[in-house]
Amino acid sequence: MTVRKNQATLTADEKRRFVDALIALKRSGRYDEFVTTHNAFILGDTDNGERTGHRSPSFLPWHRRFLLEFERALQSVDPTVALPYWDWTADRTARSSLWAPDFLGGTGRGRDGQVMDGPFAASTGDWPINVRIDGRTYLRRSLGGAVRQLPTRAEVDSVLAMSTYDMAPWNSASDGFRNHLEGWRGVNLHNRVHVWVGGQMGTGVSPNDPVFWLHHAFVDRLWADWRRLHPGSAYLPGAGTPNVVDLDETMKPWNDSTPAALLDHTAHYTFDAA
C-alpha cells in the first residue's frame, strides 16, 4: 500500500529515489504529458462554461485522480516511490529542507529567476522545460517574491471548519470549503502557494515544477482531513448541474471515474499520520 509522507520526514534514500523517478519520467516524455494535460484544463475551465479541473467542485477529485495517475507513473519506474506532501503551513520559508540541493533545489537567481542548484537546475541537462508559454526553457522560481507569506495553520483551520463542500454558482465566486481551499475567495490557500513559489508554478504550466505534486498532495490531504471533520457533509452538487461534474458523473479526460468513486482515498493510499 502506498503511504504518502510529509516531505520533511523523508530519508536521504527516499529523496534520491523520488528525484530519480521524476527524472526518468522526464526523460521518457511521460512527465511532459502531465504538464500538457494540466494546461489544457487551465485554459479550458471557465466560470460560466464547462469546468472540471479548476474553479469548480471537481477541483479536488480531478486533482486526486491526476496525482494518482502521476504516482502510478512514478511507481512504474520505482515501485517504492510515493508522492510526498508539503505542509506549507509548517515548512514556510525558503530555508526549508524541501528547497535544499539534495531535493528540489532552491529559489531562482535575481536576474532571470533561473533555479541554479538541485537536480532540476537547467545546468544538469535533466530538466528541460518543453511545455511552455514563453521562450524560456529553464526552471524558474521566486520563493516569496510575489506574495510574502504562505498560509498559516490558523488560516487552514478556518477553511477546514467550513461544513458545506461547495455552493452555487459552483465556480470561483462560490462560498464553501472547496473554493476557499482553492483560494479564489477568502484567505486564499491553494492559489496563494502557487504565487508564493513563482516561476512556472504561477502559470498554467505549473506542473513543470516538481513541487506542484507536493503542493497538491497536501491540498489533497486537507480534503481528507475535511471529510474526517465533517462526516455528514457530502460532495456537492448531487445531480443535474450544467457544465459542472455532479457526484456520479464521469470526469474528463479519463471518462471512467466519478467524484463518488474518488471520495475515499484509502482505496489508493494512506497518509503517514492522522
Binding site: 466560470d47 510575489a146 484567505v187
Partner: protein
C-alpha cells in the same frame, strides 16, 4: 478579489523591479511609477471591476519596453467566451475573466488583477523580456 489585493500586487511589482536585470533597469523606475499611478485608478481602465459584464475598453501602450494591446472580440475563436483578446508584442496572451470581474492570464494564473490591462502588465513583469509562444 481574494487575499492578493491590488496593493499586494503592487508590492510584488516593486519587488520584481528590484530584481530585474540590466536590460530593463533603466525603464523600471519610470514605468513602475506609471504602473502604480494607473493601478490606483484601475477602475477607470474600463468596466472590468466588480462584476460588470461589458467588455473593458481597448488599450494600446508600451509598458517596460513591450507593446501591450487589448480589445473586445466578436466571440468564437479560442477565447472560451472571454470576449476580449490581449497581445504582448503581437503574440496573443491567453486571458480569462473571473466571475467577480477580475482577470488572470496563463502567465499569471493564480493571482487575479482588476483589468485586462493589469493582466497584460503582470505578464510583462513575469516574462522579463521573454517572448510568448502561441497557445492552443
Amino acid at each position: 478579489m481574494p487575499d492578493l489585493t491590488r496593493r499586494h500586487a503592487l508590492g510584488a511589482a516593486a519587488a520584481l523591479a528590484v530584481t530585474v536585470g540590466t536590460p530593463l533597469t533603466a525603464a523600471v523606475a519610470d514605468d513602475h511609477a506609471d504602473h502604480a499611478d494607473h493601478a490606483d485608478h484601475a477602475d477607470h481602465d474600463g468596466d472590468a471591476g466588480h462584476g460588470g459584464r461589458q467588455a473593458p475598453r481597448a488599450f494600446d501602450e508600451v509598458y517596460r519596453g513591450r507593446r501591450i494591446q487589448g480589445h473586445a472580440t466578436e466571440g468564437g475563436g479560442h477565447h472560451h467566451g472571454a470576449g476580449y483578446a490581449v497581445f504582448v508584442d503581437g503574440a496573443e496572451l491567453h486571458v480569462m475573466r473571473n466571475a467577480d470581474g477580475s482577470w488572470i492570464s496563463v502567465v499569471s494564473h493564480y493571482a487575479p488583477v482588476s483589468t485586462p490591462r493589469a493582466a497584460a502588465r503582470a505578464a510583462v513583469d513575469e516574462l522579463q523580456g521573454a517572448r510568448l509562444v502561441p497557445f492552443g
